[in-house]
Symmetry: C2
Subunit: 377 residues, 2 copies
């Protein structure tokens, strides 16, 4: 019934790639940034605003949703698309990363990871098969294999063990992923900051025939240079005809650099989280609206922005709202940031199509480096 | 340049009145409910949504804004209308009520009230003249006199002293309110729960020629019957050709009862505050969406509502968001409530115009009493 998941590469420019992925709920233009709606909601942003910002696809978190309201509940209500009212593509992660970062008493065995819920302390088990099952109940257009994430820095032996386990879990995830026509399953490259392990992981996953390949376990505290080196190391081994997804990344600069190295998809909480804390991402670079220099500034954040919140309110108003912890401040700055991220992706796509990505990257970085508007005198 | 403030009575039905007030920023259809944007923002609601809900006018708080970002700052930025981007009528209170409820070390003298800011502990003085000045700097369409509010229950002597002081401050407020063509100043009836004092206050204020008369110092903990008795006691003394504003009220039932007794204007934080805490006001009465009965309910709050949030999301989704303390839950329920309040006012206006207010009131209460939809089986 549904068209099969498909990825088409439309153009390349150096390492950068322009493409589109087709899912049962619509097309994802790549490079794509996926805003994160952890609990089935974007914090501080209405769903129609997420769409208006230019997002083709959003990410929802298996770990959070399996605990509350549970995958079974969401399935009974028709899946995440019906539950949230977002009718466009949804990617769900597998829960592996949040098990590492949020849960207590985590215990990893060959079979599954067992942990205590951060909500009620209940003991929960998540196996590769269960992670696939949950994502099917959620109705994800793109599911992710369960992997074992570890924090960096870590011992090489630990990194290697987790990478190998993640490969075995990749195979089990694939075997479990049946009866979902048109839906995609992505494998996840692990291997920490060890080049050979990353390459081993990428080669093994490439042979398994996943619909897409993700790079996981980065942006967990290592310098950007390490992250970029890992991307460069694995890229030759990732199938060119499949989308490449860099998980949990990142800053606007990370996006520019990673797209230049062949990444097609990203997700990150930064636009909304930093918006809630007073940072606006703009073409002038990040702006801390809580800074006193904005307190009396009648100018908008960016008069040329496509985003109403960046255009229609003074910096002084946004400053006041953010400093006063008014919900509207979080709402407006989150919106500013979602628009900025989507516009950055759209501009990158246009630049790749026009074979001027390197120029666009340089210009964008120069504009960030030039910084914000001069203060009012 | 601006048309003068004007109030026209269009129809009456028993005690209920249909009218409209004209201000420099537009017409206020009465009976009117004013959502409260304390700090120059409606908590959890975009300004365009406030308008779409049907609000003609909003209230902003002098006490909060004078402390942060200060009236001088807002004046320099063009006033509250320009600062917030809300181009429609704005009423500002005088700060008297918040000085009572929020500040510490309050000291009332004949000249002014002095208090410590709840933000930084600074000592602040607010006189009747200063309250008028601040409201002028904010650019209010309707300003309120400074009054002394006291908590109930209170000794009669205290109530009397505060009421008399408020009358003297009314005169000083009026003398200070000059050079603001088209703008209105309202006096505030005080007198606690003592009928004779309320009447004395109303008679004195009626003689002063204010543009409108408010009833203050109610809904501060007394039973609804006491509030309604005070309204009934003073109503004969309030000029019929001026708007009557019941401050800080109230529940939907309060609105129905007060309109039936001749009140034209209301303000209250209930729609947004209770929305943030999981209560939806509906034609079925208030619904606590956090109650377990909604957890798996695929039905919307009210399929017939004009509000998208009440129509387009399941109770299960709203339950999940509110229980998870997701910002979107607060946003959607606040919107549901703002729409419900405005629709209730619009329905009351229509009923008064059609001379069927008593019937409408009875039907509305019967629907509330019938309660929510039966639980899903």
């Amino acid at each position: 019934m549904a068209d099969p998941f498909a990825f088409r590469l439309l153009a390349t420019d150096g390492g950068a790639r322009l493409g589109e992925a087709t899912t049962p709920h619509g097309v994802i233009r790549t490079p794509a940034f996926m805003p994160v709606g952890t609990l089935g909601a974007m914090k501080g942003v209405h769903w129609h605003e997420v769409r208006e910002s230019g997002a083709d696809v959003v990410l929802a978190n298996t770990y959070h949703l399996m605990l509350r309201p549970t995958a079974e509940r969401i399935a009974a209500l028709g899946g995440l698309h019906a539950f949230t009212g977002w009718p466009h593509p949804i990617l769900t992660d597998s829960g592996g990363f949040q098990v590492m970062s949020l849960s207590e008493l985590r215990k990893v065995s060959e079979d599954a990871v067992t942990f205590r819920s951060h909500i009620d302390g209940a003991s929960v088990s998540l196996s590769p098969e269960r992670a696939v099952e949950i994502q099917a109940m959620l109705g994800a257009d793109i599911s992710m294999q369960l992997d074992e994430c570890i924090r960096l820095p870590a011992e090489r032996a630990d990194i290697e063990r987790a990478m190998r386990l993640s490969l075995r879990w990749a195979q089990r995830s694939q075997r479990a992923f049946t009866g979902r026509p048109g839906r995609a399953l992505f494998g996840i490259v692990q291997g920490g900051d060890v080049t050979e392990l990353r390459i081993e992981s990428a080669r093994a996953l490439a042979d398994m025939g996943f619909d897409g390949l993700a790079i996981g376990g980065l942006a967990v505290g290592e310098p950007q240079a390490v992250m970029l080196a890992m991307i460069e190391a694995v890229m030759p081994y990732l199938p060119a005809d499949k989308p490449h997804y860099l998980m949990g990344v990142g800053t606007p600069d990370d996006l520019l650099e990673a797209v230049g190295r062949g990444i097609d998809m990203f997700d990150c909480v930064l636009p909304t989280r930093n918006g809630r804390h007073g940072t606006a991402f703009t073409r002038f670079g990040p702006i801390n609206i809580r800074n006193a220099r904005h307190a009396a500034d009648p100018r908008p954040l960016d008069a040329q922005s496509r985003c109403p919140a960046a255009r229609d309110y003074s910096r002084a108003y946004l400053h006041h709202l953010s400093r006063s912890n008014e919900l509207l401040g979080a709402m407006l700055l989150s919106l500013v940031n979602l628009y900025y991220y989507q516009d950055l992706m759209a501009d990158m796509r246009a630049a790749i199509g026009a074979r001027r990505f390197a120029q666009f990257r340089a210009q964008t970085k120069a504009a960030w480096a030039a910084g914000d508007l001069p203060a009012m005198t």
